[in-house]
C-alpha cells in the first residue's frame, strides 16, 4: 500500500465492518427490546426494579462489585423428562410400557416418541424441559441468562471473573436481606472460607441509644462491636441489599424455556 490514503481506507472499511457487526447489529436487534411474555402465564418480564433496588445498582457499580462477581448464568444443554400425568383406562398396560422406555434425560424427539407410545396406550403425559450445566446444577440459576434479564439495567454489570459466586439469581437463592447485610459487613461470619473483604464502611458502628436500633445487625461474638455499640447499615448498604434481593432470573421465556417446579400445594 503505497500511500496514507490507502492505509486509511483499509482501516476504515475494516472498522466499519466490525462496528456494523458488533454495535449496529446488536442495537438493531436488541436496542428497542420491550418486555416479553413469560411462558405459560399472562405475566410480562422483566418488571423494572423498585426504587431502592435501582439505587442499589448505583452502589454495586460504584464499588466495583462486577470485578469479582458475574451476573450471567450459563447453560450447557437441555434435556427432557417424560412424566405420567394420568394412567388412563389401562393402567397395567401403561405401567408395563413405562418400564421399557427411557423417560429421563432424553432429547425432545425421543420424548415425543415416548409420549406418543404412552398416549396410544391410553395414558396422558407431560414433558418437562430441564436445562443442564454446572451453573444450573449448583443452583446459581434455573436457566441461562438472556437479554431480557438486563432490559432495565443501566449500566449492565455482567462481570467477567468469578472470584465470588454468580449473582444473576441471588434474590431467589438468598432472599433474606438480613443475611445479605451480615455478609456485606463480615463475609466470614456467614461464609467461612470467603475471600470477600468486609465492607465495613457501608455500615456505622455507633453507641446504643436509649433503645437498640431495629436495623442493628445481629453479629456473632467474634465480629460484634464492643459492648454498648451496635452496627447499623447505612442507606447504601440497605440499597445494595435491596438490589441483590431484586436479582431474579427464574421465569421461563421463549428463548430460555424450562418447566418450572410446580408450586407447593397450599
Amino acid at each position: 500500500m503505497k500511500n496514507g490514503f490507502a492505509i486509511f481506507l483499509t482501516a476504515f472499511l475494516v472498522l466499519v465492518t466490525s462496528w456494523t457487526a458488533f454495535v449496529l447489529g446488536p442495537q438493531l436487534q436488541l436496542g428497542r427490546a420491550r418486555q416479553v411474555a413469560v411462558l405459560n402465564s399472562s405475566d410480562v418480564y422483566p418488571t423494572s426494579r423498585p426504587g431502592e433496588a435501582a439505587q442499589g445498582l448505583v452502589v454495586y457499580r460504584a464499588n466495583g462489585c462486577a470485578a469479582c462477581h458475574t451476573e450471567q448464568v450459563q447453560q450447557d444443554g437441555v434435556v427432557c423428562d417424560v412424566v405420567l400425568s394420568s394412567a388412563g383406562k389401562n393402567p397395567s398396560v401403561v405401567s408395563n410400557l413405562l418400564a421399557t422406555l427411557k423417560l429421563s434425560g432424553i432429547t425432545e424427539e425421543a420424548a415425543l416418541a415416548a409420549g406418543d407410545k404412552i398416549t396410544a396406550a391410553g395414558g396422558k403425559v407431560e414433558t418437562h424441559i430441564i436445562p443442564t450445566g454446572p451453573d444450573i446444577a449448583r443452583g446459581w440459576g434455573l436457566r441461562h441468562s438472556v437479554a431480557e434479564d438486563f432490559l432495565y439495567d443501566n449500566p449492565v454489570q455482567l462481570g467477567s471473573l468469578r472470584i465470588g459466586p454468580d449473582l444473576a439469581d441471588v434474590g431467589r437463592r438468598l432472599p433474606d436481606a438480613n443475611w445479605q447485610l451480615l455478609h456485606l459487613y463480615a463475609p466470614k461470619s456467614v461464609a467461612k472460607d470467603s475471600l470477600m473483604p468486609p465492607f465495613r464502611y457501608l455500615f456505622e458502628t455507633k453507641k446504643i441509644g436509649a433503645t437498640p436500633s431495629p436495623d442493628a445487625l445481629n453479629l456473632p461474638k467474634e465480629f460484634a462491636p464492643a459492648d454498648g455499640y451496635e452496627v447499623v447499615p447505612k442507606p447504601e448498604a440497605k440499597h445494595l441489599a435491596a438490589y441483590l434481593l431484586s436479582l431474579h432470573a427464574d421465569v421461563p421465556l421463549y428463548d430460555a424455556p424450562f418447566t418450572p417446579a410446580a408450586p407447593a400445594k397450599p
Binding site: 447489529g25 436487534q29 436488541l30 411474555a37 411462558l39 405459560n40 402465564s41 399472562s42 447453560q75 450447557d76 444443554g77 437441555v78 427432557c80 400425568s85 425432545e108 424427539e109 409420549g115 396422558k124 403425559v125 407431560e126 414433558t127 424441559i129 450445566g133 441461562h144 438472556v146 421461563p252 421463549y254 428463548d255 430460555a256 424455556p257 418447566t259
Partner: protein, 201 residues
C-alpha cells in the same frame, strides 16, 4: 535472493527496509482451510442471526422444538398466542379492555362464571346490545370472532382468559366447544344479554 541480502545488510544507522519476496502459497491454503472450518462452526452454532436463539440452542427449529407442548402449560401458551392475535387488539393483551371498543375480561363476571356455557356462546355467535360488565354499562357489537378458530384453539383461548390476570376459573375443553358449535348451527343468531341469561350456566 538470500545471498544478495547476506552480502548487503542494512548499513548501521540507516532506516530499516523490507525485502520483497512473495507470499508463499501454503499460508493461503491454511487460511482457506480455517475459513471452511469456521464457516461450519458458524453454521451449526449461530442460529443464523435469529435474535431469540441463544446458546446452547443451535438454531430456531431446535428452540421451537424445546418449547412446552404437552399438558396444561402448552395449552395456555397456545391460548395466549391465539388470544393476542385475535382478541387482544380490542380486549387488550392485559385483559383490561378499551373504553368504546371492548369491555374488560379481567374480573369480568361473564368470564369467571362457574360454568363456561354463556361465555363460549359469545365468540361463537357474536354479541350486541346493552350488557353490564363489572358494574359498567356497555352497548357495542362484537362479531363472532371465534368462528374461524378450531375447537382446540378456541378452547385454549377461553381457558387462557379464565386463568389469567387474576381470573381463577375452570378450563374449557375442545369437546365443549364442539358441542356448542353443533348446537348453534351454521348461521347462529347474534347473542344479546337476555339470550345469554336464558342459557344454562
Amino acid at each position: 535472493m538470500s545471498d544478495e541480502i547476506k552480502t548487503n545488510p542494512t548499513p548501521a544507522g540507516a532506516e530499516p527496509t523490507a525485502e520483497r519476496s512473495h507470499l508463499p502459497m501454503w499460508i493461503l491454503v491454511v487460511l482457506l482451510a480455517l475459513l471452511y472450518v469456521g464457516g461450519l462452526y458458524f453454521n451449526q452454532h449461530s442460529g443464523w442471526f435469529d435474535k431469540q436463539v441463544y446458546s446452547p440452542y443451535g438454531n430456531a427449529a431446535e428452540l421451537e422444538l424445546y418449547q412446552p407442548k404437552s399438558g396444561a402449560a402448552a395449552a395456555l401458551a397456545a391460548g395466549r398466542k391465539s388470544y393476542e392475535s385475535v382478541c387482544g387488539t380490542c380486549h387488550g393483551n392485559d385483559g383490561l379492555g378499551k373504553p368504546g371498543q371492548a369491555p374488560m375480561l379481567a374480573g369480568s363476571e361473564w368470564v369467571i362464571a362457574k360454568g363456561h356455557n354463556r361465555l363460549a356462546h359469545i365468540p361463537l355467535a357474536g354479541l350486541s346490545g346493552p350488557i353490564q360488565v363489572g358494574g359498567k354499562d356497555w352497548n357495542l357489537s362484537m362479531a363472532a370472532m371465534g368462528v374461524a378458530l378450531s375447537d382446540t384453539d378456541l378452547a385454549n383461548v377461553l381457558t387462557y382468559i379464565r386463568s389469567s390476570w387474576g381470573n381463577k376459573a375452570g378450563e374449557v375443553t375442545a369437546d365443549d366447544i364442539k358441542a356448542i358449535r353443533a348446537s348453534l348451527g351454521a348461521r347462529p343468531q347474534v347473542m344479546t344479554h337476555d339470550m345469554l341469561m336464558a342459557l344454562p350456566e
